[in-house]
Each structure stands twice: as C-alpha cells, then as structure tokens.
C-alpha cells in the first residue's frame, strides 16, 4: 500500500476553479489552462476529477512525438489533454478552458506546406498522364 490513494479534496477545488474559468471564457472570451501534472493529485483525486467532468461529444487521438489523447468533457469548452511519454507514462496533462485546443487546429505553416505538397503532387500526376 502507498499513501497515493487517499482522496484529498483537491478535485473539488479544481472543479470550482474550472467553473470560474469557464464563466470567464463565456463572458470575456479569455482562455485558460490548468497544469495537472504540477499538482499533488493522488490517483483517487484524478479519477474523481475525470469522473466529475465526464466525456463529451469530441475525442481525438494524436500520434505525434508519442501518443496524446484529447477530449471535450461533458462541459462544452472544458477539454482534457493527456500526453504520453516514454513507456506510456503520462508526460504532461492539462485541462484547457477554450473553444478549441490549439493542438487540434492546423498551424498556418503546416497548411502552407501541405498546399505546396498537394499542388506538386497534382502536377506530377498531370505530368505522368501526359507521358503515358
């Protein structure tokens, strides 16, 4: 047995903090984030928070520099982000209070590169067709 299992009540405080941040997002459009990794959450606290927030309509799995899982909780605008590191351990975990986490949106630089790539591929295809 370890001392990691008890419930400390931290989940309750976090829920109040999230509620406040969500109201601010609605009123002023100000986004916020809470870094879960830096908090002394026990396994029981984490499970309690996850259960209280529940799961909403959107979830995504990202395969970039290790796996990540993102989901909108049952409260619109409250997102849970979990990044796995070495050995499938949680490397970073946060709650973002935002309409859409930045990580889900395509970056303008990537869009630019993708546009160039697609155009080049189409040109190659057209070229190939001409030679056939």
């Amino acid at each position: 047995m370890t001392a990691e299992s008890p419930r400390t009540g931290l989940a309750d405080s976090l829920l109040r903090q999230i509620a406040e941040a969500l109201a601010t997002l609605h009123a002023k459009g100000t986004r916020d984030a809470i870094d879960l990794r830096s908090l002394p959450l026990t396994a029981a606290d984490r499970a309690e928070l996850e259960e209280a927030l529940g799961r909403g309509e959107v979830s995504a799995r990202l395969e970039i520099a290790g796996q990540s899982e993102l989901w909108e909780t049952a409260y619109a605008g409250v997102w849970w982000l979990r990044h796995m590191g070495v050995g499938d351990q949680v490397a970073a975990e946060s709650i973002e209070i935002t309409p859409l986490p930045d990580l889900l949106a395509s970056h303008p630089d990537d869009i630019g590169l993708a546009a160039a790539r697609l155009t080049a591929e189409l040109q190659d295809k057209a070229e190939e067709a001409r030679h056939v």
């Binding site: 008890p6 870094d35 990044h83 070495v86 050995g87 949680v90 970073a92 930045d102 990580l103 970056h107």
Partner: protein, 364 residues
Amino acid sequence: MSDPGTIGAALAAQGISRRSLLKYTAYLASVLALPPMASRAMAEALANTKRQSVIWLSFQECTGCTESLTRSFSPTLEDMIFNLISLDYHETLMAASGDAAEAAMQAAREANKGKFVLVVDGSVSTGANGIYSTNHGKTNLETLKEVAADAAAVLSVGTCAAFGGIPYAKPNPTGAVPVSEIVTDKPVVNIPGCPPIPEAIAATVAYFVTFGKLPELDHLHRPKSFFGDTIHDRCYRRPFYDKGQFAKSFDDEGARAGWCLYELGCKGPVTYNACATTKWNGGVSFPIQSGHGCLGCSEPGFWDRGSFYKPLSAAVMGNRTLIGGAALAGVAAGAASVALARKRRQAALAEQAAAQKKAQEKTE
C-alpha cells in the same frame, strides 16, 4: 513560413508538424513550472529560432549523466530536445574520434563563438596541474578554460561537475573541483544529481533556446523550477512523517504499509531536487517509491555526509547535527527544521570545503 536554418524549418524538412512543437512546449511549460498558457508563445518563438549549438565535455565522470539524458529518449515527446539543439561535440556519442573529433569541436567553437552552450559532466582535476585526467594530450583543466572562454553559458551537469561529486569525496586524490571553481567569468548553471534528472537537463537547454537567457537560479546556481523544493516537500510519504509513522527496518510492517523512511536514513528533508514529482524512467518511480530512502545525491558533499542508513539527526557532517530530533520524537518538524537544516548544512559545507582545501594545500 519559418526562415531557413530555424528550428521550424528543420522540423518541416523532417516532416514533423508544428503540432509536435506545441505539444513539446506544453510539456516544457509544465516541467519548468511556467504558466500553461505560455506554451503557444514558446512554440512560436522556438519555430523562428536557430538550433542551439551545444558542446559537451566529459571529465572525471562515469558517463551516467549522458546515460540519463539518452536513455530516457526513445522517439517520443522527450526526444524533441534533439530537434532544438545541434550537439556539435560529445566524445561518447559522436561517430568521429581522435583528430577528426577535435577538428569538429574547433569548427563548432569558431562558428558559434560566444553563442554555444557548453555542457560539462564530471569534476575537474587540479592536482599536479590536472594531469590525472587528460584528453587529446591536454588536461581537462586546460580544455575547460579554453572552451569556456568562447561559450555563452556553461551547464554543469551532474553532481561531479556541479559540486565535485564522488571524485571530490575525501581524500580527493586528484584535487577534484567543481566547474564553477574554474569558470568564474561566465554564467554557470548547476544541474546536480547522480545522475541528474534528464528533464532538468533538457528543459534548461530548451529554456535557454526559447528565451535566450537562463532560467531563475537558486543560491547554488540550480534552476529553481527543479530544485526549489526538497524531496520531502513533495514526498507522497509525507503524511506518515507528519503523523510520526516511521518504518524501523526495510521489511517491517511500517515499510510494507508505505510509512516514512526517515529513520532508515532518508535525506529527503535536506535534498533539493524534483525526483518526487518528475520521477525516473519516464515517471515510473523514484527511490522512495521503490522503498529506499533518498541518498541526497544532488547535494554538495553527499558522499561524505555519514551513513546513508542513519537518520539525519544521527548522520553528521563535520561534527554538526544536520537536523533536530523532532521527527524521531514523532513530531511534525515541518518547514522550520528544514530551514534550520539548510542553514546548518551551508555552514557545515563551508567548514568542510575549507578543511579539504587546507588538506589539499598540505599534500601539494
């Protein structure tokens, strides 16, 4: 689009999306205790920055520090640090050897004069003019003085480089000293630990690349974000300490119930490091979670502090008691005794260093 030569362009050339960078900066912000909202600005800044040239010198060391950094980096999130830096010289990791390796270092030094980060692991031998540890016909002492003169900053990685470590332990036959005793005109960051936490090494370099300056340091030049709290401050066994519940042997009922390891010699209350939160092997565990007390390996003079298995109130340094017997009496000692311990430790260390210097002078 990112300019050629920048980290953003290098990532794009490898087909790595900017999402990866954003994910990495979210991770960095977390381990560096920066506001989580800082990650977006950090990712943008990094994308437009040139890769940081790093020269890594190994002196009197066991290669554990390099193992720490490389072992943790399977191709995952933590691996991203190698996209931010250009590791221009590292004897153990580079393919070149002999004259070719030295030529690579000279080229990197010249190309990045005043801009490269110098990482050193291992202590510096000064006895008999440093002849105990040499490389390519030069003593480590000469090499350090020469290369550090061109560096932007120096990172002393591991307890040996930061505080002298095991080579510095009595009787210190090689006259080992920490890097900071030789490099006195450049910013020196200490990242102690035997070995040091890999995230602390990577994040400190990443911070420098992102912000162009060093992170906030404590009185021993350690980054505060990793060395701001003691192991004890963040230890999950702390509730047992506070209640006075101590394991008396490694296999008694208390040990099996996960009680505090203070009486078994845990040095957590006087050891500043992030093992209790960052943990090891990708967050799997740390010594106390695996059932062994903290050895205090990241503190100055840890090897000469008496038994690893005696409680702090009995372990001595010089003749000074490190901490009062409050915990033994089952009372929550808390911050006051830790602060007292810190003061006493500093005094004891100064005394120890003076005694060691005297002894050294006598032998030379």
